[in-house]
C-alpha cells in the first residue's frame, strides 16, 4: 500500500485549500465544545476545591439574638459536626470621595484562632489582630473596586453609630464567591462589600456581647440535611430565627450553582449546535469531494485493489483532515477556555485561584464525533463509487441529462443569456446538492446569529426590567418593618419626586413537593414605580387577596397555576403558616418574584400599614444630596440605585459579551468560510472542464467567472433567508435550554443579529469568490483538449 499512501499525501497537498477549509469547520465545532466544557469543569473543580479547603459550612441560620451557651445545644444535636457562631451586621459604609450609597455586611471573626468554618483566603495584608478594635478585612471585589490597600481607612454606620475602620487585609470567602446586595439584581462591586472584623469589637458595636445572631455548621457523616435543619429550627425558633437552610439556599452558592448549571447548558447546547452543524457540513463537503474522485477509484479497482483497501485509503484521507481540525480545535478551545474562565473569575466568581483543567475525555469525545461525521460521509460516497464497474468509472462521464428549467418552461427563456441558463439549469439539475449547499451556508448564518444573540437579548431584558417593571431610581430598606407614615417623611426630603412603600417578608413558598425560599413582595397595586407585567409586557395591577407569581417561579419551580392554593411559611415575626391563593402569573426575565398587594400582605401579617422599604423617584441632579440625607437616617439600612446597578452590570458583563462575541464570530466565521469555500471549490472541480472549454472557445475569464460565481451568488443569496430561519430556530433552542432562576432569555433578534448572520455569509462568499477568481486564471486550457487520463 506504499503507493496508495503516497497518493494520499499528494492528494492532501493538492487539496490543501479544501483540507484547511474542512479542518476549519471541524475546528470551529471542536473549539466551542472544548472551550465550554473545560471552562465548566475547571470552575466546578475550582469551586469544590475552594469549598473544601476553606471549610464552607453546610447549614446556615440567621436569628435575632441568642446567648452564646445556646451554641452548645446546637453542637449536641445529632447529625451536627461542627458549629460556629458569629455576629453579623448590616451596615452603611462611607468611602472618601465616593458619594453613592454603599451597603455593607460586617461579619465577625473569632478573636482566638482560625475560623472553624467559612475560612478566609487572604489575598493581601494580614488577618485582624486578636482583640483589635477597629481592624477589618475587606472582600477583594469591594477592595479592588475602590483601590483599598492595607492601611487605608473607611467608616461604617453600625447600629446608627459611626465607626472608623482600618483595612488590614483583603480576602476571598467561600461564602461570598458571588456577591449581591440584598434587593439588588446584579453584583455591584463598588456599592456592596463584605467586611470581617474581630468578634469582640463587632459585638461591642452591635450590642451582641455574649450573644450571636448567625450560626454556620457542618453535618456529621451520613446525617440528613433536612433532619438537622428541623432540629436546629426547633432550638432556635424562640430566638427569632428566619429558618435554617442548606447550601442549596445559601445565596452565593445558589447563584454559583445556577451560573454553573447555565454554563453546563452552554457547554452542551452550544457545542451540540456547532459540532452538529460542522458534522453536517463535513458530511456534505466530503461526499462531494469523494464523488469527484470516482475515476481514480475505478482505476484502483481495475488494478485489483480490494474494496476495503480503497475504503481505508479514503478514510485515511478524511481522518487526516479530522485530526488536523480536532487538534486545532482543542488548542484553540483550550486557549479560549482559559480566557473565558478568567473572564468568569473577573466578572462573576471570586475564587482565590483557578484550577484550569482540560480533560482528555473531552478531547476524545470531540475526536469521536468529528471522526464519525467525517467517516460516515466518506464511506457513503466511497461505497457508491466502488459499486461502479471500473470501465464505466474511467470512461469520460456521459453528458448529464439537463432540461429547461421551470422559469424557462413558463416562457421567460428569452430573458436569459446562455451563461445564465447554464447557472439556472445546473442548480435545477442537482436540486438536492443545491439544497444541501444552501442549507450548509444557512447554518453558518444561523450560527453567527446565535453567537451574537446575547447582547440584544440582555439589552431587551434590562429594558423590560428597568424601564417597564422596576422603574424606581432608588430602592431603600429600613432596618426593620416600619409604619407607613415613614413614607411621608421620605417624600418630604429634597430631591424625592415620588415614593411608593413596599413590604417584603421572607418566606418559604410550598406547593405539593416543591418549595422556594424567597421574599413575598407587597407592592402598591396602583404603583407607578414598581409594577408587574403581563405576558405582553404591559403593566398589570396585582389583584387583592392573593399572590401573583412570575412565570418561571410558577411554571418551573413551584408548578402551580392560577387558582391553586400556595402554602406560605413566613419566616418573620410570629412566623405564621398561611394558605394563599395564586391569582395570576406575570412576566419577568430577570430573577423570580412573588407579589401581593401591600394591604393584603399587611392583613395576612396581622399588622397595620407597615412597610419594609420604599421605592423612590429622584429628581435628576439631586442624587448626591439625597443620598447624604438618607445616609444620616439611622432607620434607613440599605439603598440600591438602579442606574448605578445597570451601569455596573454592563461594565462587568461588557467584557464577557465582548469575549463571547469575538469567539462566536471567529468560530462561526471559520465554519461559514469553510462551507462556502468548499462548495465553490468543488463546483470548480466539477465544472472545470466545461469552463476551460469555454475559455478555449474565446470566453473571457470574467465570462466564465460569471457562470461559476453566479451560481455561488445565487445559492448564497438564497441561503441568507434560510439562514435567518435557522438562526431563529437555534436561538429558540437556546432560549428553552437556558431558562433558569436567574434569568430567562427573551426570543429577541435585533437587526444587528440578522446583519451579522448575513455578513458572515456574504464576506465568506466574497472571499471564496476572490480565491476562485485567482484559480480561474490558472485554469489549464490545453488539458481540456487532451485525451482523458
Amino acid at each position: 500500500m506504499r503507493a496508495l499512501d503516497r497518493k494520499l499525501f499528494r492528494d492532501v497537498w493538492h487539496l490543501r485549500g479544501q483540507v484547511l477549509a474542512i479542518a476549519a469547520v471541524i475546528m470551529g465545532g471542536v473549539a466551542t465544545m472544548v472551550m465550554s466544557l473545560s471552562t465548566y469543569e475547571s470552575l466546578t473543580i475550582t469551586r469544590d476545591r475552594f469549598y473544601s479547603e476553606f471549610r464552607f459550612a453546610e447549614v446556615f441560620v440567621s436569628l435575632k439574638r441568642a446567648p452564646e451557651p445556646v451554641a452548645e445545644r446546637l453542637a449536641a444535636l445529632p447529625g451536627v459536626e461542627r458549629v460556629e457562631t458569629r455576629v453579623r451586621a448590616g451596615v452603611k459604609l462611607e468611602v472618601a470621595g465616593f458619594s453613592d450609597p454603599i451597603t455593607g455586611l460586617l461579619l465577625s471573626l473569632p478573636d482566638q484562632g482560625e475560623p472553624l468554618l467559612n475560612a478566609l483566603h487572604l489575598r493581601r495584608g494580614r488577618m485582624v489582630q486578636p482583640w483589635s478594635a477597629d481592624e477589618v478585612v475587606l472582600s477583594d471585589t469591594f477592595a479592588d473596586a475602590h483601590g483599598f490597600q492595607p492601611g487605608d481607612t473607611l467608616a461604617a454606620i453600625i447600629n446608627g453609630k459611626r465607626k472608623q475602620l482600618t483595612v488590614v487585609g483583603v480576602a476571598v470567602s467561600p461564602e461570598y464567591v458571588y456577591q449581591i446586595a440584598p434587593g439588588s439584581m446584579f453584583p455591584d462591586f463598588k456599592r456592596y462589600g463584605v467586611l470581617w472584623m474581630g468578634r469582640n469589637a463587632l459585638a461591642a458595636a452591635y450590642d451582641m456581647e455574649g450573644a450571636f445572631n448567625q450560626v454556620s455548621l457542618t453535618l456529621a457523616r451520613g446525617a440528613i440535611e433536612q433532619d438537622v435543619i428541623d432540629r436546629v429550627d426547633a432550638v432556635l425558633g424562640t430566638y427569632g430565627s428566619t429558618g435554617a437552610y442548606g447550601r442549596s439556599d445559601q445565596f452565593s452558592n445558589r447563584f454559583l450553582s445556577e451560573e454553573l448549571k447555565q454554563l453546563q447548558t452552554t457547554a452542551t447546547v452550544f457545542p451540540a449546535i456547532f459540532l452538529g452543524v460542522a458534522a453536517f457540513l463535513l458530511n456534505v463537503v466530503l461526499s462531494r469531494l469523494i464523488a469527484l474522485q470516482r475515476d481514480q477509484i475505478a482505476i484502483l479497482k481495475a488494478f485489483g485493489y480490494p474494496y476495503l483497501a480503497i475504503g481505508v485509503h479514503y478514510v485515511k484521507l478524511v481522518l487526516l483532515m479530522t485530526v488536523l481540525g480536532v487538534a486545532g480545535g482543542v488548542a484553540l478551545g483550550a486557549w479560549f477556555g482559559q480566557g473565558l474562565s478568567n473572564v468568569y473569575m473577573e466578572t462573576t466568581f471570586r475564587f482565590p485561584y483557578l484550577d484550569y483543567r482540560l480533560n482528555a475525555g473531552v478531547i476524545l469525545v470531540a475526536l469521536g464525533i468529528s471522526a464519525f461525521a467525517a467517516v460516515s460521509g466518506t464511506l457513503f460516497s466511497v461505497a457508491r463509487a466502488v459499486r461502479l464497474p471500473p470501465a464505466e468509472g474511467m470512461r469520460p462521464e456521459m453528458p448529464e441529462a439537463y432540461r429547461a428549467t421551470l422559469v424557462e418552461r413558463i416562457g421567460l427563456q428569452r430573458w436569459f443569456s446562455a451563461p445564465t441558463r447554464m447557472i439556472l439549469r445546473h442548480i435545477e439539475r442537482r436540486p438536492l446538492k443545491s439544497l444541501l449547499t444552501v442549507l450548509g451556508i444557512a447554518c453558518a448564518c444561523g450560527l453567527m446569529m446565535v453567537g451574537n444573540y446575547q447582547k440584544g437579548a440582555i439589552d431587551f431584558m434590562v429594558d423590560v426590567q428597568f424601564r417597564q417593571g422596576a422603574r424606581e431610581d432608588l430602592a431603600l430598606a429600613f432596618i426593620e418593618p416600619t409604619s407607613g407614615r415613614a413614607l411621608h417623611e421620605l417624600a418630604a426630603l429634597p430631591g424625592v419626586d415620588f415614593v411608593e412603600g413596599f413590604r417584603d417578608v421572607p418566606a418559604i413558598l410550598r406547593f405539593r413537593q416543591y418549595h422556594h425560599r424567597a421574599a413575598l413582595f407587597g407592592i402598591q397595586p396602583e404603583g407607578q414605580l414598581h409594577r408587574s407585567l403581563d405576558s405582553n409586557l404591559q403593566p398589570v395591577a396585582v389583584p387583592p387577596g392573593g399572590v401573583v407569581l412570575t412565570d418561571h417561579l410558577a411554571n418551573e419551580i413551584l408548578h402551580v397555576k392560577p387558582g391553586d392554593l400556595l402554602t406560605v411559611e413566613v419566616l418573620e415575626g410570629r412566623r405564621p403558616v398561611l394558605q394563599v391563593p395564586v391569582l395570576g402569573i406575570t412576566k419577568q426575565f430577570l430573577g423570580v418574584s412573588a407579589y401581593m398587594q401591600k394591604e393584603s400582605l399587611n392583613a395576612l401579617m396581622r399588622e397595620g400599614n407597615t412597610v419594609s422599604g420604599a421605592y423612590l423617584a429622584v429628581t435628576p441632579g439631586m442624587e448626591t444630596e439625597l443620598y447624604a440625607k438618607l445616609h444620616e437616617r439611622p432607620r434607613v439600612l440599605g439603598m440600591v440605585a438602579n442606574k448605578a446597578a445597570i451601569q455596573s452590570f454592563y461594565a462587568t458583563i461588557g467584557e464577557f459579551i465582548l469575549f463571547y462575541n469575538l469567539v462566536a464570530t471567529l468560530l462561526a466565521g471559520a465554519i461559514g468560510f469553510g462551507v462556502v469555500y468548499n462548495s465553490a471549490r468543488i463546483a470548480l472541480s466539477e465544472r472545470g472542464r466545461e469552463l476551460a472549454s469555454l475559455r478555449v472557445l474565446g470566453f473571457t475569464r470574467g465570462e466564465i467567472a460569471y457562470i461559476l460565481l453566479g451560481e455561488l451568488a445565487l445559492l448564497t443569496l438564497a441561503a441568507i433567508p434560510v439562514g435567518f430561519v435557522v438562526g431563529v430556530g437555534l436561538v429558540g433552542v437556546l432560549v428553552v435550554a437556558f431558562q433558569n432562576e436567574l434569568y430567562r432569555l427573551p426570543l429577541i433578534l435585533t437587526p444587528e443579529n440578522y446583519a451579522m448572520g448575513a455578513a458572515v455569509v456574504i464576506v465568506s462568499a466574497l472571499l471564496s469568490a476572490l480565491l476562485l477568481w485567482l484559480r480561474l486564471g490558472r485554469l489549464d486550457l490545453v488539458a481540456v483538449l487532451k485525451t482523458r487520463e
Binding site: E400, A401, S693, V696, L697, G698, V782, L785, T787
Partner: protein, 244 residues
C-alpha cells in the same frame, strides 16, 4: 518538392511560423515536443496534420490556436504577432478568429444544441444564426436536444457547428473522429469538408490516421517534433470515399 509552394498565389498566408520550439520541463526531465517548425498555412486550405502519437501535433495546434506559447520561434496570424501576446489578446484572438473542435466534443451539458452554439454566437461579432450552423452540419432537426440526448457523432457535429457559427477564419480540429467509429467519423469529416468548401475556412485537422489524409489539400507529417514531409494532394478525395 515542387508543391511546397501554395497551389494558388491568390490565397494569402494566414499563419506563418518560424523556428517554433516547445520544451516541457518536468523536474529534471526536458521533453522536446517541437524542435524547430517552419510553416505557412493559407486561406481556404484543408490541412491534415499527420503523425504518430507524441510527435507534437497537438502542441503545434495549440500554439496556432493561441492556447499555448512556444518556447522559441514566432508565429504570426495575418498581421498579428501571436508570440508575446497577452492573455487578453489571445482570448480575443480565439474569440474572433478561431473555431476549435475537440476529440471529446466538450459540449456544455446544461445547454441544448442550439444554445451550445448560441453560447458562442452571443459573444461573436458577425455570427451565423445558430439554426443555420446546425443545418449546415445536418442537425436542423435536433435544435432543442441536450447533449445527453445526442449520439457521439451528433455531439461532434454540434461541436463543429459551434466552432464554425461565428464564421472563424480558422478551424482547428484535434482528432475530431478519434472517439467515433469509422462510419460516424466519415459523417463528421463530410461536415468539415463542407464547411471548408462552402465557407472557405482554413481548416487544420489532426489525425494519426493516414487514411484521412487523402481528403486534404496538403498533408503535413510530423515526427518527433519536426516536420518530416509536406505534400499536396493532386487529387483529393471526398470524405465519403475514405475508409479506415
Amino acid at each position: 518538392m515542387m508543391r511546397f509552394m501554395p497551389p494558388d498565389n491568390a490565397n494569402p498566408a494566414v499563419f506563418v511560423a518560424h523556428g517554433l520550439t516547445k520544451v516541457y520541463r518536468m523536474g529534471e526531465v526536458e521533453v522536446h515536443a517541437l524542435r524547430g517548425i517552419d510553416l505557412t498555412l493559407y486561406r481556404g486550405e484543408l490541412v491534415v496534420l499527420l503523425g504518430p502519437s507524441g510527435s507534437g501535433k497537438s502542441t503545434l495546434l495549440n500554439i496556432l490556436g493561441g492556447l499555448d506559447a512556444p518556447t522559441g520561434g514566432e508565429v504570426r496570424y495575418l498581421d498579428h504577432m501571436l508570440t508575446g501576446a497577452t492573455e487578453t489578446e489571445l482570448t480575443r484572438f480565439r474569440r474572433e478568429h478561431v473555431g476549435f473542435v475537440f476529440q471529446f466534443y466538450n459540449l456544455i451539458p446544461s445547454l441544448t444544441a442550439r444554445e451550445n452554439v448560441a453560447a458562442v454566437t452571443e459573444i461573436a461579432a458577425a455570427p451565423m444564426r445558430p439554426e443555420d450552423a446546425l443545418a449546415l452540419v445536418g442537425l436542423g432537426n435536433r435544435l432543442d436536444h441536450f447533449p445527453a440526448q445526442l449520439s457521439g457523432g451528433e455531439q461532434q457535429r454540434v461541436a463543429i457547428a459551434r466552432a464554425v457559427a461565428k464564421n472563424p477564419a480558422v478551424l482547428l480540429c484535434d482528432e475530431p473522429t478519434g472517439a467515433l467509429d469509422s462510419a460516424t467519423g466519415v459523417v463528421v469529416l463530410e461536415v468539415l469538408e463542407k464547411v471548408n468548401r462552402e465557407l472557405g475556412t482554413l481548416t487544420v485537422l489532426i489525425t494519426h490516421n493516414a487514411g484521412i489524409a487523402d481528403m486534404a489539400d496538403r498533408v503535413i507529417r510530423l515526427s518527433d517534433g519536426r516536420i518530416a514531409d509536406i505534400h499536396a494532394n493532386a487529387a483529393k478525395k471526398a470524405a465519403h470515399e475514405l475508409s479506415w
